[in-house]
């Protein structure tokens, strides 16, 4: 593993291919760390399952039809579980001095951002792929919606991780740390969450795609804008 992390030959330090290799190395590092402990993925999974359960109880008395609440419940579960994962994303890096090591390495700062961001998307998506069947069973939704839901969930997770990774890198340098991340992140990602909830509702209610295509456009636009902006701004966050 260690040999993957350090560019061994000087010829491999230029060009797009080497940039991608560096990004892949950072993703590989995160995946390897996670595979050894599995603490983040298991915590996120159990947490989102708990949220779905708690909402089931909380709304049971008043709601006429639990199915109308399903999209909202799914996205609250994703948002909270994702927050749990993101808040851990840079804590280990900082506490064990990995971030300093990464910054000292001959790697472009944006590659660090991309690597961490893709890693976070992987973890959040993985948890959601496990949680989606449970969600469909508990809320009695048609099983055929699974692939479409997975697509929307992926785009939503991308929106979440794009700003989330940047803010997470900021939050570890503050006194309040984990407390501050949701306060910064939630207001910013509201448009993506609105779009994701609308799309999820449309999939579950079998609404024709034409009526919600604008929401898909909004979600994709959010992803593109915020990945690009975070990609450029990450340099300012980690410099020192």
């Amino acid at each position: 593993m260690a040999t993957d992390l350090i560019p061994t030959t000087s010829t491999a330090t230029h060009g797009f291919g080497s940039y991608l290799r560096k990004v892949a190395a950072i993703i590989g590092k995160d995946v390897a760390t996670e595979l050894r402990t599995k603490e983040m993925i298991s915590a996120m999974f159990v947490f989102s399952l708990l949220i779905i359960f708690i909402f089931n109880f909380a709304f049971d008395l008043r709601a006429e039809n639990m199915q109308t609440l399903a999209p909202g419940v799914l996205w609250v579960a994703i948002a909270f579980a994702g927050m749990l994962g993101l808040s851990r994303s840079f804590v280990l890096e900082r506490d064990r001095g990995v971030l300093d090591g990464l910054l000292l390495a001959p790697v472009d700062r944006s590659a660090i951002y991309l690597g961490k961001m893709i890693g976070n998307v992987l973890f959040i998506s993985l948890v959601e792929i496990i949680i989606l069947p449970f969600f469909i069973i508990l809320f009695n939704q048609p099983l055929g919606t699974l692939p479409f839901l997975a697509g929307v969930v992926f785009l939503g997770s991308l929106a979440f991780a794009s700003v989330g990774t940047l803010f997470s890198a900021m939050a570890v340098h503050t006194r309040a740390r984990d407390v501050l991340l949701p306060i910064m992140l939630f207001p910013v990602i509201i448009p993506a969450m609105l779009a994701a909830v609308r799309l999820t509702a449309a999939i579950l209610d079998n609404i024709p795609f034409d009526e919600v295509s604008q929401w898909l456009a909004l979600l994709v636009a959010f992803d593109v804008i915020f990945i690009a902006a975070s990609f450029m701004l990450f340099e300012f966050v980690v410099e020192e």
């Binding site: 700003v163 940047l166 803010f167 900021m170 340098h173 503050t174 006194r175 309040a176 501050l180 306060i183 910064m184 939630f186 207001p187 910013v188 990602i189 509201i190 448009p191 993506a192 609105l194 779009a195 604008q214 929401w215 909004l218 636009a221 959010f222 804008i225 915020f226 902006a229 975070s230 701004l233 300012f236 966050v237 410099e239 020192e240």
Partner: protein, 256 residues
């Protein structure tokens, strides 16, 4: 009338007590005069809205002038904060960080006013204090974004890092606002579209025709609020400069 005279008297005396020709004093006096004139126009001079009949609705409609002006000021403050944040990240001059902080603090105060005055207006018109109307929602989201900025700054000790993180956050928050705006436009709205011409004002509940005098008053209020914003910015930036000077003097004394 007596209070107005007293207020302007007070402004003149504060102006006299500081140096003879300071910009701050001039700005304060000008914005004081404009705000009093705006108050007079909004409460007395402007005619009642044409198609509102209930007295409560008629009086409440006068909130509109300061409500819209505050909202305008809030968004202006947000745009200024985003622009100076870019300037800070490019030039790294402390002054732009002060601009951003001052603008966001002022914007926060005025968004609080928008939400409160909107709520007071909603009760007689829509019969509820709060609806999940998109425009109400986005004002509150902007307010929350500002609060996030203030809390982020409060949690960082290193002044250089505080300025950098603040600028990054302000910039990303400003990207979020137009997307929020788009998302809420696609939702159904009951908020009166004041920009629409007066003759198709019956689209949504509580909207009203805008006669020429109403428009004049609104434009005057917006101008008055903008001058008020410039005045507040001037004083807040000055205050922040003094604050930082005190901090650096303290540091020098402590570590001498």
């Amino acid at each position: 009338m007596a209070t107005k005279a007293m207020l302007s008297q007070q402004e003149k005396s504060t102006a006299a007590s500081t140096s003879a020709f300071s910009w701050g004093a001039i700005l304060t006096v000008i914005s004081g005069i404009f705000m009093l004139a705006a108050l007079y126009m909004a409460l007395v001079w402007a005619p009642d809205a044409l198609n509102l009949t209930a007295p409560a609705e008629r009086y409440a409609q006068r909130i509109f002038y300061f409500h819209v002006s505050s909202a305008w000021l809030g968004f202006l403050a947000f745009i200024v904060a985003a622009v100076v944040s870019i300037l800070y990240l490019v030039t790294r001059k402390d002054i732009w960080d002060m601009w951003a902080l001052a603008s966001i603090e002022i914007g926060l105060a005025f968004f609080t006013m928008v939400i409160i005055s909107g709520s007071l207006w909603a009760k007689p018109t829509w019969n509820v204090w709060w609806t999940w109307d998109p425009r109400l929602t986005i004002s509150t989201i902007c307010w929350l974004l500002y609060i996030g900025y203030i809390m982020l700054r409060g949690a960082i000790d290193n002044p250089d890092r505080r300025a950098r993180f603040g600028a990054v956050y302000a910039l990303l928050a400003s990207f979020s606002v137009p997307l929020n705006w788009m998302a809420i436009r696609w939702w159904r709205t009951i908020h009166p579209a004041v920009v629409a011409p007066g003759n198709n004002a019956d689209e949504s509940m509580g909207s009203f025709g805008m006669s020429a005098n109403i428009q004049t008053t609104l434009i005057f209020c917006v101008v008055a609020f903008t001058i008020f914003y410039i005045t507040l910015m001037y004083h807040r930036i000055k205050l922040e400069q003094l604050q930082r000077r005190v901090d650096s003097l303290k540091q020098r004394l402590l570590y001498r």
